[in-house]
Amino acid sequence: MLLNIEQIRTDFPALHQHVNGRKLIYFDNAATTQKPQAVINRISEYYSHENSNIHRGAHYLSHKATEAYEQARKTLQQFLNAPDDRQIIFTRGTTESINLVASSFCKKFVKPGDEILISAMEHHSNIVPWQIACQDHQAELKVIPMNDKGELELEHLSTLLTSKTKLLAVTHVSNALGTINPIKEIITIAHKNGTPVLIDGAQATSHLAVDVQDLDCDFYCMSAHKLYGPMGVGVLYGKESWLEAMPPYQGGGEMIKDVSFTKTSYNDLPFKFEAGTPNVGDVLGMEEAVKYINHLGIKNIAAHETELMDYALSKLGSVDTLRFIGTPNERTGVISFSFNDIHPYDTGIILDKLGIAVRTGHHCAQPVMDFFGIPGTVRVSFGFYNTREEVDQLIEALEKVRIMFS
């Protein structure tokens, strides 16, 4: 089904504004997506009519909010095709999901001399938590290298995986380059070595259908705000056996069964990992965003975005002195580039003056920039509401940039 983009755009109030006297063109969707009115309304509705603390009150509002919250868990379970809703843990987002595993999993399973494997194209969020864990447990961080196209060199994977490799953490889609990693293949290889795999799905869930059972990943992390939902909320999916075996991440209310001063017994999944009063309103907002995506159909979204990306790639390819950073065969969401003699920051400022929002800089992936020997890139990232006309205007704006700095 072809998406009616003009119609869809009317659902997003933030897209209809002027910036520096020009119609906003929003190409910074990999940083965060805009929110449809339905999501905004859902959060407002919760605070207007349902607000109460969940899982404990005996009163009407508490029941209502608890039911809505647990229904949201089911919606997210279906979205990721998780076997059970107990495997959906609500977090503050991908970063917290990764930190939870890095802290809790490593505490239990990582011993001095062990290794954690990540890749050369990770976001800082999928590097630093593992560095901290490795420091804490005297383990070593190993890195899967990538090639000049911005693709992982998987021929090294089998030698990098050893009996010491306790976990492999890799991104589904690179936030800096747009590369889609062959994670199913990576997971299969890692599992042959007995190594569980965590997938950073922050950049994937708005562009690709994710089926955690088909992937057979051990952990999958995602954020609502990259998926047209609210900020500050996300999901950690985990295989039940791991989640059961892992110790709690934080202590507090909600995550306990019984507490005395001598001993505390922990609650069952998923509550063991959800200490404190959760962010109910935003979880409901996230559910609404998932419903919105489901309504459009992730396959339809992917088809529109692929067509738009191909168009943008061919147009950008004809801009003089423009150099693509990363030319992976499989790509979604992101195109990174730079001009030979123009600092990305300068490009970003002029594009902003022209009403075009892109991200410039290292995109929280400094090792990727070091690899390409550049201070940063200009990153254009797409959502389903972007159009060919917007791409045309970007090209025109880039020509202006080129002239200004030549």
Binding site: Y345, I349, M404
Partner: protein, 141 residues
Amino acid sequence: MTIQEQEKNIIAEFELFDDWMDKYNYIIELGKSLPPFDPELKQDKYLIKGCQAHVWLYPTHQNGKVFFTADSDAMITKGIVALLIRVLSGQPPVEIIKSNLDFIQQIGLRDHLSQTRSNGLSNMIKQMKLYAIALESSHKK
């Protein structure tokens, strides 16, 4: 020329532009006309790191006045660096410490200073003032 006089001149120059593009072209030109920064001074101790654009600042003093040379890897940042140097370099430390650099706002470039993480500009001003404070207090001793 005093800091205030320099600021007044810059404001008058920028009033000539009615189009943002002319203004930014002028800023880029200012950056290009900044005297070259000694490559040997491109050391970490003179580097003011921004999240995106970096600034190098090298202060010296002579006859009770402070002199700055500076550079940036981004042209627009470099143009604003040139303006700051024009206003503050060669001034007595007391005047540098007192300056509030209102002209930046008046010529419509305040955004570039508030983006504290993206470029080194606001930290550059802080460093310029810190240097002036250090020099001033060492004189008092």
